[in-house]
Structure formats: structure tokens, C-alpha cells
Amino acid sequence: MNRNKWFILLTGLLIGAFAAILVKMGNPGNMGFCIACFERDIAGALGLHHAGIVQYMRPEIIGLILGAMFTAMFSGEFKARGGSSTLVRFIMGMFMMIGALVFLGCPLRDVLRMAGGDFNAVVGFIGFIAGVGGGVYFLKNGFNLGRAEYSHSNVGGYLLPIIFAFFLFLLLKGTIFNPDAGGPLFFSAEGPGSMAAPIGIALVAGLVVGFMAQRTRLCLSGGIRDFILIRDNYLLIGFLGIFAGALVLNIAFGFFKPGFAEQPIAHTMQAWNFLGLFLVGLTATLLGGCPLRQLILSGEGDMDAAAVVVGMIVGAAFCHNFMLAASPAGVGNYGQIACIIGIIVMTWIGFSYREA
């Protein structure tokens, strides 16, 4: 193993360890990090949906995007760019969120759930691999969302990080504009949204992981994609590191409970565990990165990735307003329909965007 591979292994181990520690400090079970769940909580905190149990301005997400931005600025990689089928990416972000909320987690949380002994997550993982495989099929057939252009101004690249910095300010300041209705930010009084590590710890965890993920280009869909496509295991090593780091600390903290039933924020409808992450894997591969990677890229000035992040937040609002999101009780009819529609739409996009 060369130096880069050791560094991404270390990154993975650290993310896994941070995740277990964040759960220990108050985050929901097997949810030290979950890009989809946390963006969903942020949608709730902004009042975009009214699911009272999942509303919180997660500092981890803010830390990730700002950590990636500072790192990219120091390494000279920060550059505003965009224009590669931006609206298509926005819509794909919405569907990626639907898939994640049908499964109950993004690929990162899938690894953390597996490291907590949740066997439902193994079913999801198989679906994820299949979804990435589907995406690879389209890539091999010339799928391409088009070229992005560097912008002559970097302002566009700073927009999303500035917006998140403003949310951090609102979180820390705690101002209430409207005493009757609450807001600008809404917070869960019970449920997963009320479970959170202290702001400072969550923010630092996000910043450190944002730094390391930016340097290593860590990507969960990319790990499987590169292995299928060119037998390259670099990103996969990061994946294994996350699993190992979380597993060791989960066992040490007594969080490791193997089985299908009674897993934290998970359901046992296996077809939908499979199909939910299938949709995420397929979409992420077509987008060029998993939800974590999209967040990191948007910190580097990638405005197309920022469109995916905003699409995921808006998608989360639709998920709860339209009753698409799963709960520990399972996936409702509308969620099942939306997941299938998502797979059909991604297949349609996959075929349509082939280059001659």
C-alpha cells in the first residue's frame, strides 16, 4: 500500500470513530453521520417540511461543507464551476434523497449501520452495489451529463457555503423572529431530530471530516464504481476504514447489536431496503459521487454539486410532505411508488444522456 492508500484508510477509520463518538455524545443510533438524514433534518429546521420529529440544523453538514471549502482554498483547488445539466442534477438530487429515505440512510449511514450490526443494512448494501453496477452500465455506454465550465467569478462557488454559515449563525444565536409560530429555525422536541451531539463537537467533527474527505476524494459510490470499472481499490479502502473504525468503537461502547429486528431508525422491509439504496447507487454513479462527495464538491466551488445538495434538501421536504419517507414501521405505498418512479426516471436519464 502506498502513502495515499494509508491516508484514505486513516480517513475512513477516523470517520467511523467520529461517527461512533457522535452517537455516544447524543446523535441517534448508527447515525453519527448521515448526509441524507441530516439534510432532511435541515429541511425540517428550515420549516420546509413539518415532520416534527426530524427537525434540526445539523452542524455536521455545515462543518463538512465549510471544512471542504477551507481545504480547497488552501490547496488552491477552490474554483467556481458549473453548467453541466444543472437542473437535471437538481432533480436527480431529489430522487437520490427519495431512495435514501426509503432505505433510511445514505451510503455512509449504510456502512455505519452495518458496523452497528444492522443486517437490514447489508441488504441495502447489496442493493447499493447493484445500483452502482447499473450506473456503470450507462457510463460504459457513453453516459455523460456534459461539460462544466470554470466561471470567471468565484462568487457562485461561495454561495452555498455562505448560506450554510448563515444557518450556523442562526443556530448559535438562537434568535426567534416569530414567537407564536417559532422560526427561523425549527427544532424537534422528540424523536431523532431531538437527539444530537453538542454543537461544538458536531461542528468540529464535520470540519475535520470535510478536510480529510476533500483531500482523499472519499466517495462511497465511487469506491464500488472504480472497483467494477477499472479494478481500482483506492476509494474502497476508505469505505473499509469507515466500517472498521465504527465497528471497533461500536463494540467498545456496547452499541453493536447484530440482527434484523429492533435496529435504530431502520425497517425490515427488505425489498425496499434493497431498492431504496439501489436508487441511491444508480443516481450517485450517474452524478459522479455519493451524497457525501456532492457535499464536499459543493464546498470546492462545484455549483452543479451544490445543485444536487439543494435538490436533496428540497427532495427531503417532498419526502415528508408527500409521505414518501420510510419510518421504523416500514415504507408506505407512496414511498414505494416514488422509489420505483425514481428508478424509471434514472434509467430514462441514463439512456437519454448517452453520447454518440
Binding site: E77, S84, N144, A148, Y150, C219, R225, I230, D232
Partner: protein, 69 residues
Amino acid sequence: MDKLDVRGLSCPVPVLRTKKAIDAGATEVLIMGSSQVSKENVSKLAVSQGFTVNIKVDNKDIWEMEIKK
């Protein structure tokens, strides 16, 4: 020498384009790209396929490399 322009293409399209050129039998390719990530990935692929990589332009937002077998 074959020429390949992968500027502005997102992951992993630059790698796939390079692989396609190599699989088609190219032994010398001049590749132009824009992101650091694609530079790393394309050169990694070229080395793994037994090519020597000669980076001719290496700026943060634009790069050019010659790969040769």
C-alpha cells in the same frame, strides 16, 4: 499522437475516455483536462496500464499530460 479533451467532464468520464483510447490501441495520447481529481485519476490509470506519464502543463485549473507506452 491521439488527442483527448476531458476538460470539464465529471468523474469518472475522463478515466473512461482514456481507457477507451488505450483499449483501442493508442500508444501515445495527449490528454487535456481541468480538475485535479481527473488529473490524479487519469495518470493513475495510465500508470496501471504500463504507460509513462509526462505532465506538461500543471496548473490548478488546467493540465495537459502525455502518456506513452
